[in-house]
């Protein structure tokens, strides 16, 4: 497409700045964009507002204790490494090995699905200005609803998550909005949205598992 036409559509130049032969094309584009704005529903369907309000009413009745219980009963994988924390990565590795679930019958207190064959991975992230840190990845349908905790307020958020052997992609989500790659991940993969997912590979051997960078 003509670059001047792109500039016009970006609002950088006016119609008068275009040569006559492009002005008609520009007008056609304007008509198209009007149609594009009208393509699709003009607004929320009937009933959505009341459905949302019912959900909110239920949400306020549920209260913080039930939400905490729900979070605890549906653990999600967490893995965070701070940007300047090479040492933390080593700690994570050290924590990982003894946490391998060699004894499948052991009740580890985590519900929300079988953890057979899972490896518990400790995640750490240095985020001193964050109000919340969560992790989202292929292991939890990319929903950033797995919270990390920073009980002592030192800005180091942590949590452990059962992960099955395999290759996992994940990102951290700060304050519910800012998606962040694990700064110390050894491998990354483009996510199609201009960011890079961190990649973690876990292999399982005979009775044990190990991280593969």
């Amino acid at each position: 497409m003509n670059q001047d036409l792109q500039k016009y559509l970006d609002g950088e130049i006016g119609l008068d700045a275009l040569p006559a032969e492009l002005q008609s094309e520009a007008r056609a584009w304007e008509a198209f964009l009007v149609d594009a704005r009208e393509a699709g529903a003009p607004g929320a369907p009937v009933g959505l507002e009341s459905r949302i309000l019912r959900g909110l009413e239920q949400e306020s009745r549920v209260g913080w204790w039930a939400r905490l219980t729900d979070w605890w009963l549906h653990p999600q994988p967490l893995r965070v490494r701070p940007a300047a924390w090479v040492a933390a990565a080593a700690i994570a590795g050290l924590l990982l090995v003894p946490l391998l679930t060699g004894d499948r019958s052991r009740d580890d207190g985590l519900a929300g699905g079988s953890t057979d064959g899972a490896v518990y991975v400790q995640f750490l992230l240095e985020a001193p200005h964050a109000s919340s840190v969560a992790i989202a990845g292929d292991f939890n349908s990319w929903l950033p609803d797995i919270g990390l905790v920073d009980p002592d307020g030192d800005g180091i958020w942590s949590g452990r998550v059962p992960l099955r052997p395999g290759v996992h992609e994940y990102m951290f989500v700060i304050d519910g909005t800012q998606w962040l790659s694990d700064p110390l991940a050894e491998r990354f993969k483009e996510d199609g949205f201009g960011h890079r997912n961190s990649v973690l590979a876990i292999t399982s051997g005979a009775g044990a598992a190990s991280l593969v960078p």
């Binding site: 970006d10 584009w29 393509a39 003009p42 949400e59 306020s60 990319w142 201009g194 960011h195």
Partner: protein
């Protein structure tokens, strides 16, 4: 609460008046749904996303640092939920083969029925764009955001976003070549 400002509603909710959140739902449900529907191409998923966005917003309202701009904050939550949904879908579903270019065998639509039809074709063509291009195109040309706003909200550079929009337009032009 017709005369309630967004900031008033936020303060009321934080002061314990949960019903005040209804003002924000009424105010922003349409814009959130329009965006989510165009991004997902599925009204049922869009409705779920909008509901989830409001619930997340309600839960985390104390983290909204600028109550005057709570609408933008809620929209940003919906943008991220759409990303989550599309990422999740990409991993669940095998991408369908690219469909044939969308063509109408006529010039500019004249009747309302024709216009409705061409809008349906545009809607389908939007779904043919990559998620990244569709996101940029919808925010720019449907929601009317500036590139600077987009860059701030999407953590991407203005030049990268312009490139996405340019490519989206070019692809739409190819897909709908007989429309224009």
């Amino acid at each position: 609460m017709a005369d309630t400002s967004d900031a008033d509603a936020v303060r009321a909710v934080l002061d314990g008046d949960a019903d005040a959140f209804a003002h924000l739902v009424r105010q922003y449900k349409d814009v959130l749904f329009r965006y989510a529907e165009r991004m997902t191409g599925r009204p049922d998923e869009a409705a779920d996303i909008v509901q989830q966005a409001f619930i997340k917003g309600y839960r985390n309202l104390d983290r909204c640092r600028d109550p005057e701009r709570v609408g933008g904050w809620l929209f940003r939550i919906a943008v991220n939920l759409c990303k989550d949904q599309l990422k999740s879908r990409a991993r669940r579903e095998v991408r369908l083969e690219a469909s044939e270019p969308l063509r109408s065998d006529r010039g500019l639509p004249e009747t309302s029925a024709e216009r409705a039809e061409i809008r349906e074709e545009i809607y389908r063509a939007l779904q043919e764009l990559s998620d990244e291009q569709r996101e940029a195109f919808v925010l720019k040309h449907v929601e009317g955001w500036s590139y600077e706003e987009m860059a701030e909200k999407l953590d991407a550079s203005v030049s990268a976003l312009k490139m996405r929009v340019h490519r989206a337009r070019e692809q739409l032009q190819d897909l709908l070549q007989d429309y224009r």
